[in-house]
């Protein structure tokens, strides 16, 4: 099907199953430890061996020699894979990192060898016997050192133009009566998903089958094919359960590439899970950004000039962190200049992490808006309201498809009791605690992409949906189940969902919060075809049938759905493609985040006491799992605001805190009860299902809301994330 005109009424509008807070489809498996993750398949690859990766001990230079003899003679060792016997691994299309040091070393912990042995313990021990000599060269590890010199790179495939001008920013900013001109830094951040990247690889001739943990099957087959030098049709990937990703498992990482390469070398199936301490320096991360935001406004608060200049760094060929994305669309303002510069760094690759661009970009912009509101003596919500726009600020001919931003702000203000906030900083105290409230706006692209699905009706009336969509904790299984049940007019328990297999119809997978809208549109297409086929089989006029209560109805006639398959299963496949509407409409999701913090006046410690998110993301497909997506984003936002920071050793060029003890993420004790509320809306320009994603929206805007609450509590503005106590302790107000 092609979707190129806004959707009218269709079966998904019944909302008998869609929208309901159904428990997760796979809940009983996940809570009993019986969902099988990549490393856990027992019988699929008889005779498998264990691989263990040895990472480079230098950040930049080259291997001058590798002595693997002792490792090869160690008990249980089957083989040692290095660049000398690995063939010449290619590079995929999304990540630029090289999977093996060959012999150049591009970053610390880049894989140097894979030791393959009969047991994990033997492989790990033997890895300690590989002796590597390196020649070290100086590397570039300090982003700030290149702040003056880094160029504006050519536009890449993702992230939009690296420089965009509207009107005359310089003149308007100079003339503005009220201005903010500040620089903010967001550090390198790690995905730190709970399941380490893991893969089992098994070859049959020139075809490879891998049980792995990646978010996008279609990118995975493409990239593994390129890395191995085989056609993507020869790659079969299976990822039904994924222990978190957040962008860090977008496509092929070293576990998958090296399991496949090692299996080819030792001629046995090989399984590899990345040991946690090498993940931080050898997979991707969200790269650090240094962002200068310049806002110019009239005394009425209306923005006349918006400038956002951002610097990030990456390996050669790597992408720019697209921090200005939100700045281009969130607020009105006639004169605009957004620019992104890119430095070269010899650290692990920077790449997509949950809401790439928008999350770190809003961490800067939304503090700047708070600073502007204070200068204007305006309420921060009112400042945002007066700068609302219903058209794309860069292109006034392009309206937003839906834009409930002001409703999010107003609804949130009421629910959070924003009227209790004192606009004067440091005005509320409870004993040793300084109390503050803050808020921030949120925007995240409402993307959608071509997606397919296969639907099978059997004689018992069960409908089985197969698609290569993945569920990384997002709830894909459940929203697919609900969409199919709604379309076919059956109870949810009549639906079987199979995901995460690259032989199933293609979807964009889990990324860019486009998974749920895309796959449900694909399921809509497949179920529409199934309905037509069923109606024909049963001799109905296809234009006038209703699927409800497990039956097909038309006029006075009513037949069991299952009867359509009594002579054999009905199998159909279709896909939804999208045209025109994304050009006609600016499709975005919106939100408002609110936080109340307490700052210990003696120690500077910050405790988050209350948080609320109000989100507008089109139709909410499952009220329970959508809320979980949003509160999960809020937790990650607490981490970004208060603790997450990959600390760089600038002498030796690596992330020092490369494990889950050193890289701090929020734990239970850091998180209060969280509230999330959804604005009731549908977006008929997105798809027939009228739903947009929420997973990344839930993160964008959280950290600056907390930062603004801290300022409201203390009167000390910290512009360098994370806001750890030493950054404001010496400036905290004196205790009476």
């Amino acid at each position: 099907m092609i979707f190129d005109t806004p959707a009218g009424t269709n079966p998904t509008d019944r909302m008998k199953v869609l929208g309901k807070p159904l428990d997760r489809y796979e809940g009983h498996l996940k809570t009993t430890g019986t969902a099988t993750y990549a490393y856990e398949w027992q019988d699929v690859a008889p005779g498998f061996a264990y691989g263990y990766i040895l990472g480079a001990a230098i950040a930049r230079g080259r291997i001058t020699s590798i002595d693997t003899r002792d490792a090869e003679r160690a008990p249980g060792v089957i083989g040692v894979v290095t660049y000398l016997n690995a063939g010449k691994p290619g590079v995929g299309k999304f990540y630029v990192q090289k999977m093996l040091a060959a012999p150049e070393v591009d970053h610390y912990h880049q894989p140097v060898a894979v030791v393959v042995a009969e047991t994990f313990e033997q492989a790990r021990a033997a890895a300690g016997l590989v002796r590597v000599d390196y020649q070290r060269t100086a590397g570039r590890f300090d982003l700030a050192a290149q702040n003056g010199s880094a160029p504006v790179p050519p536009e890449g495939e993702f992230g939009g133009p690296n420089e965009k001008r509207v009107g005359d920013f310089a003149r308007a900013f100079a003339a503005a009566p009220v201005k903010v001109d500040e620089t903010y830094t967001v550090p390198d951040q790690a995905h730190a998903m709970m399941e380490p990247h893991a893969s089992i690889a098994k070859w049959d001739g020139d075809r490879v089958t891998c049980w792995t943990s990646i978010q996008q099957m279609n990118w995975g087959t493409r990239d593994l094919g390129l890395i191995l030098g085989i056609p993507k049709q020869n790659v079969h990937l299976i990822s039904p359960y994924i222990g978190g990703g957040f962008g860090g498992k977008g496509t092929v990482q070293i576990d998958l590439a090296l399991a496949a390469i090692a299996a080819r070398v030792v001629k046995r199936p090989v399984k590899i899970a990345l040991q946690r301490p090498i993940m931080f320096n050898t997979t991707i991360h969200r790269p650090k950004t240094i962002q200068r935001v310049q806002l110019g406004a009239g005394r009425d608060g209306r923005l006349t000039a918006i400038g956002h200049d951002s610097l990030s760094g990456n390996l050669v060929g790597g992408r720019t962190e697209p921090t200005v994305t939100s700045t281009r669309t969130l607020y009105a303002g006639a004169n605009r200049l957004t620019r992104m510069r890119l430095a070269t760094l010899d650290l692990a690759e920077g790449n997509a992490m949950r809401a790439p661009g928008e999350a770190p970009g809003l961490m800067a912009l939304e503090i700047a808006m708070d600073e502007l509101a204070e200068k204007l003596k305006m309420d921060p919500i009112e400042l945002r309201v007066v700068n609302d726009t219903q058209v794309d600020p860069e292109n006034p001919d392009k309206p937003f498809s839906t834009r409930a931003f002001v409703r999010c702000l107003r609804e949130g203000a009421q629910r959070f009791h924003w009227d209790k906030r004192r606009s004067t900083p440091s005005a509320v105290r409870e004993g040793q605690w300084l109390i503050g409230m803050g808020m921030a706006g949120a925007i995240r692209g409402g993307k959608i992409a071509k997606a397919g699905a296969r639907a099978r009706l059997d004689r018992t009336g069960v409908v089985t949906i197969e698609t290569d969509m993945t569920d990384i904790g997002t709830g894909s299984y459940t929203v697919v189940q609900q969409t199919a049940a709604e379309m076919m007019g059956v109870a949810p328990d009549r639906i079987v969902v199979k995901l995460g297999d690259s032989t199933f119809p293609e979807t964009p997978g889990s990324g860019g919060q486009q998974g749920a809208p895309s796959v449900t549109a694909g399921v809509y297409a497949a179920c529409t075809k199934l309905r037509e086929t069923v109606a024909q089989r049963l001799g109905f006029n296809t234009a006038d049938v209703d699927f409800a209560d497990g039956h097909v109805h038309s006029g006075n006639r009513s037949v069991k759905l299952a009867d359509a398959a009594k002579d054999g299963d009905i199998v159909v496949e279709d896909l939804m493609e999208f045209a025109k509407l994304a050009d006609q409409f600016q499709q975005q999701t919106f939100g408002a985040h609110f936080a109340e913090v307490a700052v210990d006046a003696y120690t500077g410690e910050v405790r988050v006491r209350r948080m609320l998110a109000v989100c507008a993301a089109g139709r909410i497909l499952n009220a329970k799992t959508a809320r979980s997506q949003v509160i999960g984003g809020m937790v990650m936002g607490v981490g970004a605001a208060l603790m997450e920071d990959m600390a760089i050793d600038k002498r030796f060029g690596f992330f020092v805190n490369h494990d889950l003890a050193g890289y701090e993420v929020p734990v239970h004790a850091d998180i209060p009860h969280l509230d999330a509320f959804f604005i009731d809306e549908v977006d008929p320009t997105i798809s027939p299902v009228k739903a947009k994603g929420v997973g990344e929206l839930g993160l964008t805007g959280v950290a600056p809301a907390i930062a603004n609450a801290i300022y409201n509590a203390t009167g000390v503005r910290v512009r360098e994330y994370p806001i750890t106590l030493e950054k404001h302790l010496d400036r905290l107000p004196a205790l009476a």
């Binding site: 428990d23 997760r24 809940g27 009983h28 498996l29 996940k30 809570t31 009993t32 993750y37 490393y39 856990e40 027992q42 040895l54 990472g55 480079a56 001990a57 230098i58 003899r69 002792d70 003679r73 008990p75 912990h109 140097v112 994990f120 313990e121 790990r124 021990a125 300690g128 590989v130 002796r131 000599d133 070290r136 060269t137 100086a138 730190a192 709970m194 399941e195 359960y241 994924i242 222990g243 990703g245 946690r276 990384i472 904790g473 709830g475 979980s628 997506q629 999960g632 984003g633 937790v635 990650m636 002498r651 030796f652 490369h658 889950l660 734990v667 239970h668 004790a669 998180i671 969280l674």
Partner: protein, 210 residues
């Protein structure tokens, strides 16, 4: 910047290489043809796992976690960090929760181990498992078995009166309050951020409010 070669002291080299197994400057200090490493002897260990007797012959370097996952194929217990930093491998041994990655299997001769598979099955959920489903106390599911084993143990610890940092009065009997549960659950990381729902699930089981 440029291509100057660093001159490293031996101490600096050690620092830079501390986390990898191979250190270049020692290559020349190692005997050219070092004898191959001897095979590691195996040991027998007998324990009860989820009520069933198990006897395993193991490399002594095998952790309890890997014994469960790789030898008994009880993969419900998850490996998140292998260093006691995340809690995904939490199991209950002789009634106490532990990180299975931090102890060797051979230390558990005669012990009674309960894993997530021993608490309930998809057909017969433990009340805590059912509460996690109801309150959506999980997303990707990878930390979930550890969270549930911890949650079951935490409520038991509170019942047994084991004190915690969250109590105002250490001598008073602890109660399953939100603060108490959050404090005691903080060794189990959930990167998907289901904490608020997990505490709701625990409160439901404890018959209390989060």
């Amino acid at each position: 910047m440029g291509s100057e070669t660093f001159q490293l002291s031996r101490r600096e080299m050690l620092m830079s290489s501390a986390t990898t197994a191979a250190v270049s400057s020692f290559a020349s200090e190692t005997a050219e043809a070092a004898p191959p490493v001897k095979a590691v002897p195996t040991y027998k260990v007998a324990m009860t796992v989820n009520g069933a007797s198990q006897t395993l012959t193991l490399d002594p370097r095998t952790t309890l976690l890997d014994a469960l996952r790789e030898h008994l194929h009880l993969t419900g217990t998850k490996k998140g960090c292998d260093h006691g930093q995340c809690g995904a491998c939490t199991v209950i041994v002789n009634g106490e929760r532990i990180n299975a990655c931090l102890s060797l299997a051979v230390q558990h001769q005669g012990d009674a181990v309960t894993t997530i598979e021993g608490l309930g099955t998809p057909e017969r959920l433990h009340p805590m498992q059912a509460a996690f489903v109801k309150h959506d106390g999980y997303q990707c599911g990878y930390c979930t078995p550890g969270q549930i084993c911890s949650a079951v143990s935490v409520l038991e610890e509170i019942k047994r009166g084991i004190p915690s940092h969250a109590q105002a009065d250490l001598m008073a009997a602890p109660k399953p309050t939100g603060a108490e549960m959050r404090e005691r659950m903080s060794g189990n990381i959930c990167r998907c951020g289901a904490y608020s729902n997990i505490v709701d699930a625990m409160a439901d089981v404890a018959g209390a409010r989060a």
